[in-house]
Amino acid sequence: MKKGNIISSVIVMAIGIYVLVVCAGYPTAEAYGTGVPGPGLWPMAVAGLMVIAAAALLVKALRTKPEDDTPIVMWTEGTKRVYITMAALVVYVAVLGFLGFLISTAVMLFGFIQWFARKNPLITLLISLVCTGAIYGVFKFLLNVPVDFGLFAI
């Protein structure tokens, strides 16, 4: 956890400092002449407090004794599966607009179900098609959501 806390506090501090720097360039209250604080004041105040909270977390993490530390497991069979899933979903979302909901979702479901459940591919195909069709049908026809986007949209 110590390493995780250090990394997360550094990332949060970096975000906070970025916000402070960007907001410093925003117009101030004087620019509006109404007594209303400018658009940068609120995010700056929040970012400042966030940097302080991150610094507190960093100090606490650095003070953690090795015997009190509980390591975070980031590289196991399970987490590897999660990372592959995340990458596959990023690809799925990226091609969603191009291939359309029906094709990309059917392929996504087939891939994941076959990987996780290891069923007969024909059964997996049937499950994927039925689920995709059901979701598409509910949203397109019952809820009138225009799901028909992409090149091969129906």
């Binding site: 956890m1 995780g4 997360s8 506090s9 949060v12 975000i15 916000v19 960007v22 907001c23 925003y26 117009p27 209250a29 509006y32 109404t34 007594g35 209303v36 604080p37 400018g38 658009p39 940068g40 609120w42 995010p43 929040v46 970012a47 407090l49 966030m50 909270a53 991150a54 507190a56 977390l57 606490k60 975070i72 196991t76 399970g78 599966r81 999660v82 899933t85 995340m86 979903l89 990023v90 799925y92 979302v93 969603l96 607009g97 979702t105 996504m108 479901l109 994941f112 179900i113 996780f116 459940a117 499950i127 689920c131 979701i135 509910v138 949203f139 809820l143 959501v145 225009p146 799901v147």
Partner: protein, 488 residues
Amino acid sequence: MLMEVLQSAFNPVILLYMVVGVAAGICIGALPGLTATMGVALLLPLTFGMDATSGILMLLGIYVGAIYGGSISAVLLHTPGTPASAATAIDGYEFSKRGEAGRALGIATLGSYVGGIVSCICLWLISPQLAKLALKFSSAEFFLLALFGLCIISNISGKDMAKGLICGFLGILTATIGIDSVTSYVRFSDNVNLLSGVQYIAVMIGLFAMSQAFESIEDIFSKDEVNTKVTRLLPTKEDLKIILKTSSITGLIGTFIGIVPGAGADIGSFVGYNAARGFSKNPEMFGKGAPDAVAASEGGNNGVTGGALIPMLTLGVPGDAVAAIMIGALTIQGLTPGPMLFQSNKVLVYTIFLGMFIANTIMVLLGFSCIRLFTKVLSVPKTILTPIIFALCVIGSYAMRNNLFDVGVMLFAGIVGYFLGKVKIPTSPAILGLILGPMAEKNFRTALLKSGGSPVVFFNTVICWFFILLIVFSLFGGRLKALVRKKN
């Protein structure tokens, strides 16, 4: 108005939506890994095409059902279906080991109902009065109220206050992206999809549904099997007495916990459990399968459901994460939760009140009649369910604005949520930040605009001072207590 409310709440279509909502909620709650928040976030898009009453009542049904549904796996598998049933699992599973799973489920069902009804009564009694008071609020009071809600983050962050605060601040900062409502200045990004801000429903689906689906992938091949038979559900006279006494008290406790912004059903359940141990005749039986323990936990968590709606409806401040999603649902319908809702949409508000009673009644009826059917849900394989959740997350986040950009936002939030979970940073404060951040900022600046820039406006009224005291107490109350204890 009474006739309109009755007609609206007992409309057969709306009743059907509620039955579907409660049944879906029980199934979602029963499945370990799927929480009430996840269920409401996932199924929220289904309400986009409905009118406000149908949509909100269906979501309420899901909420009430899911909080109760968590007790099914808690009793049968020793795995709480939702965090709200973690306390139920302690004693509930002891019943299963003794072959009395049916008895425990019966107590949980009736305990949930009693807790839910107590919270409904409180909702009915407190909300209109609070809304009347809130009508007197100006921007300064609303700013201090939002600030108080944000300060609560420090109290609900558990052991690591810094982590909860960091997540809350990240939520507030995310809400500042886009056009500033006061000066129309574009902040942080001029991307056309972000000009009206980050869609917080997409963020919620990501944080609460997608990230949990990622977590469930880690042990996707594990199987939950029910080895106990469920028999004799209806509570005996002795159990009935215990349930009525314990669940009504813990339901009341749960209601007040629900009113506190950010404190959810999991806290309500544990506080109720501990309180019941305090006044029980047999406290030594807690942890060994005591009927009052199960009744206390379930009364406490279902008590939160009505309590969470009180600040949501009257002040626009979410009592818990599910109430936050409901604020989104109301906003999508063009309604703004807050005191004005009681003026402009009285029928809807009172239909929601009555809807809570009906949802709880449907829950108890379904619970006693179909519990064996709901236990079958536990055998749905995660290997198929998880990919379907992915697809639902995608279409749910898309359906809000018919915008694929929001799908990307949802996926990003899901990935971030997964890693935040790894370093034990709670994600609920982000939602408080996302909702209360803009409310605090807008009212802060409007108050200063009205006062010509004078900060005295924040100290002008008794209500302002009341909130200032609450803020000071929420920030330093714990430390003061500790200091007093140390001195003693």
